[in-house]
Symmetry: C2
Subunit: 340 residues, 2 copies
Amino acid sequence: MAQKLTLKKIAQDLKVSISTVSKALRDSYEISEETRKKIQEYAKQYNYKPNSIALSLKNQKTKKIGIIIPEIVHHFFATVISGVEHVANEKGYQVIICLSGESFDKEVVNMEMLANGSIDGFILSLSKETMSKQDFHHLREVINQGMPIVMFDRVADDIPGDKIIIDDVTAASEATDFLMRKAKKNVGILSTVDYVNVGRLRTQGYSEALMKRGVEVNQDLILKIEDIDHCDELIEKFIDNNPSLDGIVAVNELFAVTASKILLRKGKRIPDDVAIVAFTDGMLSKYSNPSLTTIGQNGYEMGGIAAAKLIDRLEQDQKDEERYETVIVKTSLIERESTP
Amino acid sequence: MAQKLTLKKIAQDLKVSISTVSKALRDSYEISEETRKKIQEYAKQYNYKPNSIALSLKNQKTKKIGIIIPEIVHHFFATVISGVEHVANEKGYQVIICLSGESFDKEVVNMEMLANGSIDGFILSLSKETMSKQDFHHLREVINQGMPIVMFDRVADDIPGDKIIIDDVTAASEATDFLMRKAKKNVGILSTVDYVNVGRLRTQGYSEALMKRGVEVNQDLILKIEDIDHCDELIEKFIDNNPSLDGIVAVNELFAVTASKILLRKGKRIPDDVAIVAFTDGMLSKYSNPSLTTIGQNGYEMGGIAAAKLIDRLEQDQKDEERYETVIVKTSLIERESTP
DNA sequence: TTGTACGCGTTATCAG
DNA sequence: CTGATAACGCGTACAA
């Protein structure tokens, strides 16, 4: 097993000094053609690669970005990571991933681990628990140490950092209005509890769309779900309680597809009896039966923007311009079988 | 913005030497109670954390493991990562993720990037292109440098490293037999081209199950799909060409759910007319309509085992026992609506 | 009890 | 043209 090659070993083998080797490999004009060639060939033959840890230490830059998300098995987050990874790699950065599992403590621990020099900056989407606690001290600490943070999707409003979000209010409003334009009179929403930003905002957009058309908001048509694991019963009860329901906006695929199955089981037709629009365009929407009309959140694009913003900030060392930006990524309504 | 605290700065501030600080923080008996307390309190107050890069360089260990997978948006891979991450974090390791996007070149580049000292070991699942080329020089190089590799799912048989796989042959055989036990007489398989290991093995298992029951293997009932993007037409043609088809084994969810939609559209009933068993238990299987009976690959478990094996190997520095292990993870047949 | 010196791998600066 | 030295941050063997 050939031990990993270092400048030192090359220097020993070729009986020159370390600095000569270093310079030769960087094509320094100070080194004679002859030695340069000799060293470069030797390095190439034995496949020398500079040790990135040593470089990190020297340059005080790791060329790595850390990303903390609640769950990787959610398609949306996977898409975002994919976008982050793509842009980051293009710019010579690597991506370290940690999962909070929606837990505040794990989010804090992960941030602390990564903040000890492992990475140059953060991209993150906050855990549900963090959102409900509204405790952001860990973010503040990291920022105080001069490490930039880009948040996406689940963001903390009053934290200094760039934010990449979609306009949830408008998107939900458009989804609702879309259903009403399809002559649906009793549109309900399957949302999350209010401390989840996106749930609150989407509920708000839903209400606004109704009001704009002079329809009164009926609280019975708003279901706020806390625990995703037992959404079935809640949704079924909701449907039973609202026999006139003819349109549903769901804040995620899962709620939508669950509702769809329950409706079909009860003999309703989709989209004729009840039409559905879901947030988050993922595998479920595309391949479920019937396929779902969705609001695409363009996660890949969000991830790319987040990475680009972060790397920009890392590479313009002037930390003047302490003005942080909030980018609003456009959503797209993708029509499928669940709407007329 | 408080600059990141180092031993050096603490030493300056407290007017002691660096090593005194270092020792004090590690509770060395060499340091007097008094100074120790003073230093520890100061460190705590200003939230000192040792720089992990410096530690990596010193210890020649990064406590990071690299994972390279084809795509993160595939639920199976996301599950595996989740398992890796869980076990790794438990043992104090971080996870760096790179995506090959099914491209050989990107896989090579990523490996080289990570192998330059960024990580202690690899977990990977090979890209399709790598499988078809059968070019594993990048793996050999890394291994030659003394970096352990654990492969899962898509593995290279003759590469020295641990392997975590499922018994694809047996699983496919069981799936096929399960359909035959349900009185299905003409079971077909939607598979991938043969250079994708799992496709080949599952096709083999399918054939074996037929032969065991004295049924002749009919090549018309075997569809090998190369490009996942245009599987619709292929599957539709396949179904049209086999009117007596009454059972389908699909090597992934997507093929299964696509077939399911096409069948329903053609007025077939599932599972009465055609029953379906899919590999990879993901969101689609669970929530599609009808939900799919699947072979669960237990990705979370695979990831956990891979991480545990890798870390074991990293921490037992004796690299004696150069005997590598192949762990076969049990699959589980999860019955849902697509089978009687 | 405290401090000095060294090494991990690299590069930049300065001396020869 | 080449080599020695310092520095990045840390831990530790050794010296005071």
